[in-house]
Every structure is written in structure tokens, then in C-alpha cells.
């Protein structure tokens, strides 16, 4: 995963819930490739028809509220979205996104300064967001060190694998 990318912005409001990100009727699978065609379907039926891989989701407060379904960030990642920028995230979605390696940025100002279709550049490591059409720049809230490490290790799976190996070497 590269740390810098740019894409077209898709802008949504507050409380985008997991039921509209990926409706329950598609939860008989957790394969990102099968989930992706239905990403955002119940909120914006055109999204998958018109988005191009690398595009960026921009939203208001409480993005990903509702269910614990990891299928939500999996669908977004599977669709090729490079990053989600929101004023705030619901807590389970927040954890799920970091765990599966979907880049997310919390930024109270960016959603006001980005409109649908704007080209946006993100530097994940620096937490910098730039609207290429207006030149405006925004800073994302930095993650605590524990979460930065989790992301740097590639998510939760490699982290747990390392813990298990450590335990096998010196059983408690």
C-alpha cells in the first residue's frame, strides 16, 4: 500500500450507516470481490457505475455507524476506494478499517473544503489532505502511537501472528 495517492472525491453527509455501505442481503459472503459491486448501493446506486479505482470517500460525522459487519470496509476496499476521510467514524468501523488495512483519516475541516468531483491528494504518513482543484490543504488528526504501529505492521493479522510466534518461543 502506497502512502500517497490521489483520486476523485465522492462526498456524503453524516451518519452513513453500514446498511447502506453494504446491505445485509449481500452478507452471505465476505469475499471483497463479491461485496464490491454492491458498495454504497442503497445510498447511491450510481456509485459503482461511475467511480474509478483510487477515488476517495469524504463524509461527515459518524461514518460507518450501525452494524459490526467488517463487510463494510471490505466492500469499500474491494471497490478500489483508496481512502475514507470523515469528520468522525463510528468506533467499530474505525477498528475494522485499521484492522483490514483500509486507510481512513479523521479530519473535521476537509469535508467542508471538498465537493463532489474535486481531485484530492492524500499523504497518509503525514496526514495531509490537499484539494488539487482549490489548492486548499487540511491536516488529519494523528492516531495514537499504538494505532500507528498497528497500521505500520499491516493491520491486525500480522500483529497477532507476531504475538503468537513470540508466545511459541517463550511459553508463559
Amino acid at each position: 500500500m502506497s502512502d500517497r495517492f490521489s483520486g476523485k472525491a465522492w462526498v456524503y453527509g453524516d451518519n452513513v450507516d453500514t446498511d447502506v455501505i453494504i446491505p445485509a442481503r449481500y452478507l452471505s459472503t465476505s469475499d471483497p470481490a463479491e461485496l464490491a459491486p454492491h458498495c454504497m448501493e442503497d445510498m447511491d446506486a450510481d456509485f459503482m457505475k461511475r467511480m474509478t479505482p483510487g477515488d476517495i470517500l469524504v463524509a461527515g460525522n459518524n461514518f460507518g455507524c450501525g452494524s459490526s459487519r467488517e463487510h463494510a470496509p471490505l466492500a469499500i476496499k474491494g471497490a478500489g476506494v483508496s481512502c475514507v476521510i470523515a469528520v468522525s467514524f463510528a468506533r467499530i468501523f474505525f477498528r475494522n478499517a485499521l484492522n483490514i488495512g483500509l486507510p481512513i483519516l479523521e479530519c473535521p475541516e476537509a469535508p467542508q473544503g471538498i465537493k463532489a468531483g474535486d481531485r484530492v491528494e492524500v499523504d497518509l504518513a503525514e496526514g495531509r489532505i490537499r484539494n488539487l482543484d482549490t489548492g486548499e490543504e487540511f491536516s488529519a488528526k494523528p492516531f495514537p502511537p499504538f494505532l500507528r504501529d498497528l497500521v505500520a505492521r499491516g493491520g491486525l493479522v500480522p500483529t497477532v501472528r507476531a504475538r503468537l510466534e513470540e508466545r511459541r518461543r517463550k511459553p508463559s
Binding site: N15, D19, S28, S30, E70, P73, R91, R161
Partner: protein, 430 residues
């Protein structure tokens, strides 16, 4: 400064300093998934290189969402869960002996006061009714807990909800929690723990407490906690599958905020589409015609809920335009409701009864909505498309409002049907 219940529960499960905002590695007492979240958890568990769950008697999969299997894909998910659970020696129950996870697991004594519980389902917060730090996570977090017997938490701030006064008999736990969410909003408690207290909370039957804790996540909360009291300990003591040690908050605990509510001013309410915070008095929504009413789910599918619905439906019939779907949340609830005559009452009123399942709550099966249809539901979410077509609507309410509305064919106030002394008391049906 003393500790809130959330802080005390986390502190009893970690060696690290516990302060709001700090991140701790926390021991987990019980970790479970359902048929939808189980499959990805199993895949991640394998990718982690894990071979054995940390303790098979503390790890479970409850098939409840798309069960009895609604189609071949769902059957395969349950099959994968069953095979994994068998190979691991962990807990798994077949249809007919199981139920909706958040009603079923407390009933089996697998969620207990003083514990830390992780579930791959957002309504895991229901376990907070027992004074457990119970919270929902995704499948990868759950897989990590199965592998390690621990997880990480950012210690939440705690919001104390103090409910004084005496509620009228038509006001249930559902009306209380919907009124709270109506006032603080769907992110009013985001990342925070809610801790409930006060005389109206002490008076709440266990089944109503489960309803309140269940909906904590609809305000964005990480947990919805009740301080263990006599009712909690009687319920847990009778059912406990393992020894437990209740944990209590300190009297000088520091809360980020205290919300005061007066139970005597509450009335039966509904949450209109499409957010649980869109709360209005039921008495003001009589213009809303209904096509379906659903009584069930992890929010309101327990014995007390069916008792209240039966009190209204006894000797009455469901409106000819309305389909009433009743789903007891667990096999035990179903059996007891049958013994007490509630099931007969529902059948005579013209209801369809289904076997325990999440059913239509999340748009799975047993009552999916067509475009233009409106359902009054005792469940917890009324998002766009939640129970079917995106052009359908879901209104949330208590079982009393739901039963009254099923009879009237439109949103109704239970006060029109039952006099004060006709509402069954909050007896210890648990």
C-alpha cells in the same frame, strides 16, 4: 479520583494503567461470533497462523442471523462455522436449541457480571445489562481474541445516565432508551460508555435492562452498563455457567457528563424513519398506516416483551391490512411463552409465529418489505433499506406500542387499549 464501572471492569482485566483515553491490552472472558461474522473471523484466525482458540469453553458461534438457513450461501456459512466450532471443541448450538445471540447467551449464563465480553456483532453491548463490559467488534478483532484471549481497548469516557422518578406502566425500557437517543442523538455517546443509574433504573426488570443496554450502540456508545444489584445477581446466579465476581464503580468516580432524566415525564414513543434518534410520542403518529408489525429481535424478543404484547392482543385481532410477525428470541422464551398461553393468544389474533432468528430485523428473511411498505418493529435500527427495499420504512417502538398498532393498523398508543392496572407488572419473569 475513583473509577467508573467501565474503568473498574477494564482495570480488573489489564495490568496497564486505566485512564480515559489510554490504550490497554485487556483479558477477554468470552468471545463469540454469529453465522454472518463467523465466516470471516474463521478465515482471519487461520491467516493469523493460530491453531487453537484460547479456551474452547469461552469461545462460541451462535447461528442466528440467516438461520434456519435461508439459502444455499447461508447454509454454507453455517456449515463452515459448525465445522470450525467442532474442530476447536468450542460452543455451538443448532437451530431449535439456540436463539438470537444477545438474548440467548445471557440466558445460558455465558455473559456474567464483572466480565469482559467481545462479540462480533454491534449489539454485544446488550451484555452491559449484567454489569459486564460487553462490546461489539468486527470479525478480525474477534479472531484475534479467539487466538490470544485478549484484545485492546481505548478506555472510554463514561457518561452517567441518572433516571429518577417512577415511570407509568405503559413506559418500557424501550421508551426510556429511545427517549434518551432522541435527546442525545445517534452519536451522542460515540466512543463513550453509558452507565445507567437512579431509582427508575433500579425498578427496571432484567428484560427491560437488556433492551436499554442493547440500544447503547445506537447512540454510538462502546458499552451500556448497569451496576449489578439484587436483580442482576439473582438472574446471573441462577444461570451462571462459570464462577463470576461482580465489579462496581467507586462512589467518587469521574464522569465526563451526567444526563438526568425524569421517568415520570416519559411516554410511549416511536422512532420514525430513518434514524433511531427521530423520536416522537406514539400518540402523535396515529396518521401512519402500517403494512407489517414485527415483535422480536435481540432488543425486544424476550419473555417480558411477549407478555406485554399478549396483554394487548388477548381477545383482539390484528387489523386485516397488517401482517403481524412474532419471533420469540430464544427456544427457552418460546417454550415459556407457549406454556403461558401467549403463543395461543398471538395465533388467535392472527399473527405469524416464527422460530427464533434475527429474521426480518436486518432484512434477512421472515418478513422482508416491498417498496412503499411501512413496518413497525420492536428491533433497534430503522436505517434506509434495513428490513427490505430502500423504498420501505421502519418505525421502532416497544412491544406495547407494536401490539396496539397491529390491532389498529396504524401507529397507536397502548394507553388506548390497557388501563393502568391492566399492564402486566414488571414481575420477575426471568
Amino acid at each position: 479520583m475513583g473509577r467508573t464501572l467501565a474503568e473498574a471492569l477494564i482495570a480488573s482485566h489489564t495490568a496497564e494503567p486505566v485512564e480515559p483515553g489510554s490504550i490497554c491490552r485487556v483479558r477477554v472472558d468470552f468471545a463469540f461470533a454469529n453465522d454472518i461474522t463467523g465466516a470471516p473471523a474463521i478465515a482471519e484466525f487461520t491467516r493469523m497462523g493460530a491453531e487453537q482458540v484460547f479456551d474452547p469453553s469461552r469461545c462460541a458461534i451462535v447461528p442466528d442471523h440467516f438461520t434456519p438457513n435461508k439459502d444455499i450461501a447461508s447454509a454454507r456459512q453455517v456449515q463452515a462455522a459448525r465445522t470450525f466450532a467442532r474442530n476447536q471443541g468450542m460452543l455451538f448450538w443448532e437451530v431449535g436449541r439456540a436463539g438470537v445471540e444477545h438474548a440467548f447467551l445471557p440466558e445460558k449464563g455465558l455473559i456474567l457480571p464483572g466480565e469482559v465480553i467481545l462479540g462480533a456483532d454491534s449489539h454485544t453491548c446488550t451484555g452491559g445489562a449484567l454489569g459486564a463490559f460487553a462490546t461489539g467488534v468486527g470479525s478480525t478483532d474477534l479472531a484475534a481474541a479467539w487466538a490470544l484471549g485478549e484484545t485492546w481497548f481505548r478506555v472510554p469516557q463514561t457518561i452517567r445516565v441518572e433516571v429518577e422518578g417512577t415511570a407509568s406502566p405503559w413506559v418500557t425500557g424501550k421508551d426510556l432508551v429511545l427517549s434518551l437517543i432522541g435527546s442525545i442523538g445517534v452519536e451522542g455517546a460515540r466512543y463513550a460508555a453509558l452507565e445507567f443509574g437512579g431509582e427508575a433504573i433500579a425498578a427496571l426488570p432484567m428484560d427491560d435492562r437488556f433492551t436499554v443496554a442493547n440500544m447503547a450502540v445506537e447512540a454510538g456508545a462502546k458499552a451500556g452498563l448497569f451496576v449489578p444489584d439484587g436483580r442482576t445477581l439473582a438472574y446471573a446466579g441462577r444461570r451462571a455457567a462459570r464462577p463470576f465476581e461482580p465489579v462496581f464503580p467507586d462512589s467518587d468516580a469521574a464522569y465526563s457528563r451526567t444526563i438526568r432524566m425524569d421517568a415520570s415525564t416519559l411516554e410511549p414513543v416511536v422512532a420514525l424513519p430513518h434514524l433511531p434518534s427521530n423520536v416522537k410520542p406514539a400518540s402523535e403518529c396515529g396518521h401512519l398506516e402500517l403494512d407489517q408489525v414485527f415483535i422480536g429481535s435481540c432488543t425486544n424478543g424476550r419473555l417480558r416483551d411477549l407478555e406485554l404484547a399478549a396483554a394487548i392482543l388477548k381477545g383482539r385481532t390484528v387489523h386485516e391490512r397488517v401482517r403481524l410477525v412474532v419471533i420469540p428470541a430464544t427456544a427457552e422464551v418460546f417454550a415459556e411463552a407457549l406454556k403461558r398461553g401467549y403463543i395461543e393468544t398471538f395465533l388467535e389474533a392472527g399473527a405469524a409465529i416464527s422460530t427464533p432468528s434475527c429474521g426480518p430485523c436486518l432484512g434477512g428473511h421472515y418478513g422482508i418489505l416491498a417498496p412503499g411498505e411501512r413496518c413497525l418493529s420492536t428491533s433497534n435500527r430503522n436505517f434506509v433499506g434495513r428490513m427490505g427495499h430502500t423504498g420501505s420504512e421502519v418505525v421502532l417502538s416497544s412491544p406495547l406500542v407494536a401490539a396496539a398498532s397491529a390491532v389498529k393498523g396504524r401507529v397507536a398508543d397502548p394507553r388506548e387499549f390497557l388501563a393502568r392496572d391492566e399492564v402486566p407488572g414488571g414481575g420477575e419473569s426471568e
